[in-house]
Symmetry: C2
Subunit: 398 residues, 2 copies
């Protein structure tokens, strides 16, 4: 029996199954309440308009909605994204917008065109796991930028850029995955200045900023240093992730090579999904749907924060994000949250141990990520209660 | 003004814009009849059932059709592909089918997990341009396998495998792009034996075998050497390319790493596109639509062959495929078909100069590819007539 194991490329050993996805497999077992995933609630999808939306799209674009299309993206969607982006602080034109197969597609594309083996990428600690997964096959090294409750610490960024040949910086500045933290406006201005001073390139990943439940919108770093930033967002949280539609606005050279690279990867994103997205935005559906999504998630987030307040030991710290999908918990020092994860799953509740969000898996052992968008308030309270019990038991045993 | 040119990865210089796509840009100018592309006819799409199909899918799968899903593919589509593949000579189970974002996605995935810089890939001469584009960023070297009217020459494959450390062989054995040639059954058996003897891996790209206008179906090489073959096909020619749904059946190790690699690339293919595809196959729509597609294309192919017979000089040779989308023309020795391409475009007709389908662009200067699926018979005859005139004029001048 041949295995072809010997044929694998050297880069393949740098790939690993997404820990989150592996954990989700246990988490989706019958009877398990999962606070582990990053799924939007099924109730957030505009299911009731999909058939009509399809009819409109087919009437409007006919066979064009089913045909091959340009790698840059479906024209009407690129047009529709211009005012959408402008309302979010990103001034651009249709020709400068690129559509990808989810924002994951942009991560892969940027990794592909920029990372030579051994190149240095600067990331927050902790950072988004999916970004590491996209970049890892291109064999970079990582340096970590320190963070606190206000997001990354500008002095740490300055120091990282001064002492390392950094290819690009990767950040999720708003409602970060996994911490839910948002970089303050003051710090964004500092970051913009630092980027400009170092002629540095920033990958600004912004999937969550539309999911704001309280407080005021903060402008993207792209608006403060437009020439230095690849701005990336998605319709996965405000329309439907199953369409796989993400998009970016990038500096010219990056834009040029992203288009060429993706011709080899998937030619282009599903034309039908793009046409539906164009109509969803241009037809005003997104603006009508968003308030419903916020009303759905706001009490869930509230329930999560109250449950943590009620069920976690006093010395535990957790973030209180104004939006997004996640809350980050720092347990008592020395606690092994991966070990407790398995005990919680036995009791029917799942979360994600925080170590998986660090470049070095020895970090963050005493942290964990909780999602609050995929379960209703009562379930959240009950599930956090179970985690609290498991933690209390483990403390008693020690 | 920063350009960030200096940040590009070393692999990026191995990427190039698809010549076909660049040529298509000219070819899609108003008034140009394009025999250059590889587009299915818009009339081949089941446009009239799309709204109903969407309704069925939403009723059946609800929000699941819009949610994140497994990287391996949407369960009902993987199930539906089992009898679909069996009818085409590939015996498998749903768990062994992987769905990708077009068959291009499989090319990228296989390139990513198998090709280390400098590795040798064996390809037909000429070969599918999109495969080269997918593999090039992973920096392989290519060796060419010789071909004749019956497809690749087994003795050449034997020699290539005996004298080179080949990572894998890439073939389009049925109605090849660009030549339209089909490897005979006798040769398929020889290829299967050679693969087994060398413990070699074959990438069998099979997008066209459903488009057979005359003659008998030939079994895929996968059916003759199942353990040695990654079998890849698509719904782009029999449903709609704008859905971006391709699929593969691969040996276990390859299957395993393809799943992990694509988690970083795009997570998964559009769930909605997959659900529509599942219903299109399982609901019997594909089997009902396919005869219409064949009836649409058969006279177009006939028109192309008759027009070539009528308008090309006597010493020109061209293939007479029993199916697919392309005919390959070998002009008189020494003729520069790229030069004539520009003259033809000035006269309002486009094709693809053959050199772009060779690893070495010095090869195939006197060849060109003609598509017959995207234009009606009268247009095809008129367009081939124009090409014939340009050729005749160039011969007179010499």
């Amino acid at each position: 029996m041949m295995t072809f194991e010997h044929l694998l490329a050297s880069r393949t050993c740098h790939m690993e199954a997404s820990a989150v996805r592996e954990i989700l497999k246990v988490a989706t077992a019958p009877g398990v309440v999962s606070l582990a995933g990053g799924l939007p609630a099924a109730e957030s999808f505009p299911l009731e308009i999909m058939e009509e939306l399809t009819g409109t799209v087919l009437a409007k674009y006919g066979s064009k909605a089913l045909q091959y299309d340009a790698s840059e993206g479906f024209g009407p969607l690129r047009e529709a994204l211009v005012p959408h982006l402008a309302a979010r602080g990103v001034a651009t034109s249709a020709g400068n917008v690129l559509v990808f197969s989810g924002s994951q597609g942009v991560l892969d594309g940027v990794g592909k065109i920029l990372i030579s083996p051994g190149d240095v990428i600067a990331v927050e600690a902790p950072t988004y796991l999916g970004a590491l997964q996209a970049f890892n096959p291109y064999e970079p090294r990582y340096v970590q930028i320190e963070t606190d409750d206000d997001g990354l610490i500008p002095e740490s960024l300055e120091q990282v850029l001064s002492t390392n040949p950094v290819k690009f910086v990767y950040l999720v500045p708003t409602f970060q995955n996994p911490t839910g933290r948002t970089l303050t406006l003051t710090r964004r201005k500092q970051v913009a200045e630092i980027l400009k001073r170092h002629n540095a390139l920033l990958y600004e990943d912004d999937p969550y900023s539309d999911l704001r439940y309280t407080g005021e919108r903060v402008p993207p770093i792209k608006s403060l240093a437009p020439d230095n930033v690849i701005y990336v967002s998605t319709l996965s949280k405000t329309f439907a992730p199953g369409l796989r539609v993400g998009f970016c606005v990038a500096p010219e050279v990056i834009h040029h090579w992203l288009v060429i690279a993706r011709q080899g990867v998937d030619l282009h994103t599903s034309t039908l999904a793009q046409a539906l997205s164009a109509e969803y935005i241009a037809g005003g559906h997104l603006e009508r749907q968003l308030p419903h999504i916020l009303e759905l998630y706001r009490p869930r987030q509230q329930a999560m924060l109250e449950a943590l307040e009620r069920h976690m030991p006093e010395d535990f710290r957790f973030t209180r994000p104004e939006g997004g999908m996640f809350v980050w918990v720092e347990a008592a020092k020395g606690m092994d949250m991966e070990r407790l994860y398995h005990r919680c799953v036995e009791r029917g509740v799942a979360f994600v141990p925080g170590k998986f969000f660090y470049v070095d898996h020895e970090d963050g052992l005493d942290t964990f990520r909780m999602n609050f968008t995929a379960a209703d308030p009562e379930t959240i309270d009950r599930a956090v209660g179970v985690i609290g019990e498991v933690i209390a038991e483990s403390l008693t045993r020690v």
